[in-house]
Amino acid sequence: MLLDLRDGIRNSKWLKYLLVTVICIPFALFGVNSYFNGGGPDYAAKVNGEKVSLNAFNNAYQNQRAQLAQAFGGRIPEGFNAVSIVGNQAMDSVVTREVLRQAVIDNGLAVGDEDLAQRLFEIDAFNVDGRFDSDRYQMQLQSMGISAAEFEAQFRDDLLAQQLRESVVGTGFMLPDENKAVNRLQNQKRNLASITLNVQEKADAIEISDEDVTAYYEDNKASYNNPEKVKIEYIELKIDDLKDGVDPSESDLQAYYDQNKARWVAPEKRDASHILLSMDSDASDSTKEDKLAVAQGLIDRINAGEAFEDIAKEMSDDTGSAENGGSLGEFATGVMVPPFEEAVFAMQVGDLSEPVLSDFGYHIIKLNNIIPERGQTFEEVKAELDDEYRIEKAETSFFEVSELLSNASYENDDSLLPASDETGLAIQTTDWIDRNTFDGVGQYPQVVAAALTDDVLNNGINSEVLEVADNHVIVLRTLEHEVAKPKPLDEVRDTVVATLQRERAVDELNTLAAELTKSLEAAADPAELAAANGAEHNETVAVGRSDPAADSELVRAIFAMPKPAAGQNAYQTLNTSSGDVAILIFGGVAEDDAAAEGDEVIAATTAPATSDFENLVVTIEASADIEKNDALLTEQSPMGYGGGY
């Protein structure tokens, strides 16, 4: 046979091509695949040889990114290196997840199918009216793009990791002595007195010579720069402007309401019961007649006073509903088979139908209740509709116009006029703007940055279309430019003088503080010492760590000071953030009766042992063989991550 094939191939040109083509297919597919992946590995990481999928990484990436965006108030600032930060976070989270997954399996943790089902039932998203609903479950999984088997495997992994976490974090405790020690530290009070030397008073009295001012100015010119600035012309497109241009008529809104009615109105539902006499859809005429006769007989019995429910239990072939006296519950149109639905929706409450023939057989139907259409009328939601309608229309035209703007400003990149003509948007101009401008279009850092790029600044080319905020774009040209240059001395003289005065005042106060400390150590009276030097003296108070009445800077400092020997004081000079110089007089730890009394009632407590678990994870990770796909963590990622906006 093989010989025949060989001869056949040798003699037939077509067979030869066919064979080559067949062989090529896998290569072609492989090639395409590696093109998509930029030729990099097809996994996000490998943990002990097991792969973490790119998909898992992408999901983690999107989650982290969304969180970051939220932290920034909805939008990650441009220039923020999100790919590497978010990428690293996402990578860590998927690796940890995989490490934990393997650790729980290696250590023989397992969740039984029943437990798994039990926990699954508890998830709100899969419940309808407080009960697990399998349709809802399937639907939710579908929207996540994941199969039930995959989801359950993941859910199982999560449950196990959670079980492990809980077994460590949830079993932490604090022993009575430990609680006591921490409480004592927490509630400790220290005797604090202080002498404060005011910097401003000192500074005001210091004369600064012109030579000094000039010298300082020359040395520090760079910090007195006027920043680089530009004047630009620009075209701006904002969705808000477009929104005002949309003016929907009454009939537009009515049509919009009708189209989206399901959002405001729940359709009429009917609550019915039935008795089914089942029959194949291709049953013979004689069978049909027999069944019809049976059905008629049942109707007669009901009319003669027997309860519909009893007969349904006894006779109905729809066993599911028969148990409930034939009840099918509430349903809207589009749920039941057409002949059945037509019959039900033509009945009055309390009616009993004639036998109705459907693909299932003969139904005897009783209509129990009509739940009328419910919801908000057009008039009620009109204001809301109006707003939504405007946004929807404005969004559509925003994308159209921004497309036009982008094309026109790119194709004629030496002027904004064509773009303005094309879009009907006016060209506007700014006064000087720089990186510190906080209003107008200058407030967007992208605008100044774009105006200063080589192409725009030196080659006179239109900028790209800058998306400065959601649904808000700008394209610009630089009109005038001024490089950064130092402010003239006269303009900044006062600032320089103040800076120098302050610097020298702080120096002098520190010297003074050192002298005063020596006097204090030689047992001088703090109050007298302060008065003699024009300083402020604060009497001794016992301060706590979070004493609202005390200066938090001084409190922080005194609680970091070494304790003085019994009956003595310790001293420390503190340069405060206001510039004042304070001498702290630490008169020892204040014995607090309340704290000591509290000791007696201190008991053991539970304490979440989060650090135990975190260090456990670090330990397990340290012994795992982890290989990360570094290509995912660089700005030039081949993945693109989708959803970059």
Binding site: Q163, D177, N510, A514
Partner: protein, 220 residues
Amino acid sequence: MADYETEEQQVEALKKWWADNGRAVLLGIGLGLALIFGWRAWQGHQLSVAQEASGAYTEVMASLEKNDDGKDFLSKIDALKSDHGGSSYAAMASLAEARYHVEQNNLEGAEAALRWAVDQGAFSELKSIARMRLARVLNAQDKHDDALDVLEKVSSQAYAGQVDEIRGDIFLDKGDAAQALTAYRRAQDSGGRTISAQTLQMKLDDLAEPESKIGSDDKS
């Protein structure tokens, strides 16, 4: 194989080979299949045992909610340890048992539970955690040196910070402030996660030593 002149010769050679080795090949295949199925059956068995232990553990934890002075909880833990002593779940339950005893102020009970997790627990990574807790419980009973010995055996670098903080607490209880300060400093320098960086700082600050002379001309 050598070259054969005709196809008949090849067929003959194959037949001969089969006659010589056929039994061995079949035996090999049979053994291989038995191994595969045996392995799978073994794994299935392992899984069902693990699931059983998991169920028992879940019940142990649920019985904590009962208002019966922990009777049910403790007896269920004993059962778990005797039925599934080799399972990680027994070790996990020991941690819960220890916490229960600590809350009841029964330090001996807590010590025994943690020792069980250290000596007999199956989950090796949990042992470091059990040792740290054991050391604290020993310290609370003033068995300072036993506590320090137990800490010696916590090997993972990740716990270095936590371990040194516990060492500091023990030294402080022993009245050795200098060694406590050294231990706390090491805990802070380890870079590992400790229970609370703020509490550790507080402990450190409280032991701060005066420098040779307080720098009154210190401008910082």
